[in-house]
């Protein structure tokens, strides 16, 4: 089978394809999230040390993972967009940012909620929370730059470059914060000191997959909006709207 992948690099042909793909990601995402949450919140036994409060890590950890992955994905699409001058790639980068920021915020929020019963305070300068906070600032910077530039092409190129520079710095920031944290002997979020039970690990995995699928579905949805917005003068968009009427 010989598929011409480059055909789908054009916004006009990607738009309907993305539309068809969304349910294939969205439906499993919902199913897996429901399964994962039921198992994580109700079926698994409470932790012998932390009691019920440990259950929040089933949201916290996948969200934290996702927020990192999405930043790197943004930089990846930005690089593709720069090298091949492909508009669709830069639209992908733009579409990923809000989802990444939401996961980042979710990780911080759940981290704070977990901190209250565990450390007795909502905020501790723990290495992972601090990295998440800085990452959230980077997402905000990306989105603020994109929003500040009126010309859509300049906005995409400038914020894409920022994402690439940021992605270079993410590992440096991550390790410096880790090091800073061990230096000052701060607290750290770790589920349990003993090795994670297999049942816990599998729930975590289910939730992580759900987060991936959700991110893809939402990003595709957002890319579709972005395509319509940027191509609103193209003939095929006009045809689309007359068909709808």
């Amino acid at each position: 089978m010989n598929i011409n992948w480059f055909k789908y690099a054009s916004p006009a042909s990607f738009y309907p394809l993305a539309g068809k793909m969304i349910p294939w990601f969205a439906v499993p995402a919902v199913i897996l999230a429901v399964i994962g949450l039921i198992m994580g919140l109700f079926i698994l036994p409470p932790d012998f040390k932390q009691g019920e409060s440990y259950r929040i890590i089933f949201i916290h950890v996948p969200a934290a993972w996702m927020s990192m992955v999405i930043y790197l994905a943004m930089a990846f699409w930005a690089i593709i967009g720069m090298v091949w001058n492909s508009r669709l790639s830069s639209m992908m980068a733009t579409a990923l940012a809000p989802t990444g920021a939401i996961f980042c915020f979710l990780a911080l929020w759940t981290g704070a909620l977990w901190g209250k019963p565990t450390w007795g305070t909502y905020w501790v300068w723990d290495a992972r929370l601090t990295t998440q906070l800085i990452l959230l600032f980077m997402y905000f910077g990306y989105m603020a730059l994109h929003a500040a530039i009126e010309d859509p092409r300049r906005a995409a190129r400038a914020s894409g470059l920022l994402a690439v520079v940021g992605a270079f710095n993410v590992p440096i920031i991550y390790f410096s914060v880790q090091w800073w944290n061990t230096l000052h002997q701060g607290a750290s979020i770790t589920p349990t000191k003993s090795e994670m039970a297999a049942s816990m690990a599998s729930v975590m995995l289910i939730m992580a997959i759900a987060a991936w699928l959700y991110s893809i579905a939402v990003t595709l949805k957002r890319v579709r909006c972005e395509i319509l917005d940027r191509e609103r003068h193209a003939a095929w968009v006009a045809e689309l709207s007359t068909e709808a009427k």
């Binding site: 009126e150 010309d151 092409r153 003068h233």
Partner: protein, 206 residues
Amino acid sequence: MLQVSGLFCERGDRQLLNGLSFTLKPGQLLHVRGANGAGKTSLLRIIAGLLLPTAGDVLWQGKPTQQQREDYHGDLLYLGHLDGVKGDLSCIENLRIDNELLGAEISEASMMAALEKLGLSGFEEVFAKQLSQGQHRRVGLCRLLMSQAKLWVLDEPFNALDVKAVGLLAGLIEVHLERGGMALLTTHQDVPLSTERVSEITLGQV
């Protein structure tokens, strides 16, 4: 030789250039015409490499300009709406920096001569911010005398110039063309040049 092929350009919601193509040969001048907002400045900035077209190519000596940026810029002289003259530097200091940026490598005496030719003798050590608008513009125009560029891209070069300076500039362009140079220019005035070398395109017409 400058070749422009299938150039498209969008600014905001408007389609400015729709597959524009032309070729400019040595000794030719292209007068770009069009109403305000027709995309004259955008076209010139695309050719200068300051603006990326939505689609299409600009070829210099048969090669895309983006693949030979520094070589192409060595052959190019661009004067835009902004003079590119630093107010906090004196006229001669401005020229020294232009000399280096253009890679012209001309002597101090030639720079003085350029200033003199443009009627700025006595102003060498004066800060550019203290000059009148026309004089300020002339400091920028000194580049025409300094550079050995083959391609001149001039956006409204006659603006803010008095009659004498307009004549002088027209003369410079003519000499440049006679030497086998090429030029693109936009102007709302009639081009005071002998017509056999001048061709015209008008933007914004369907």
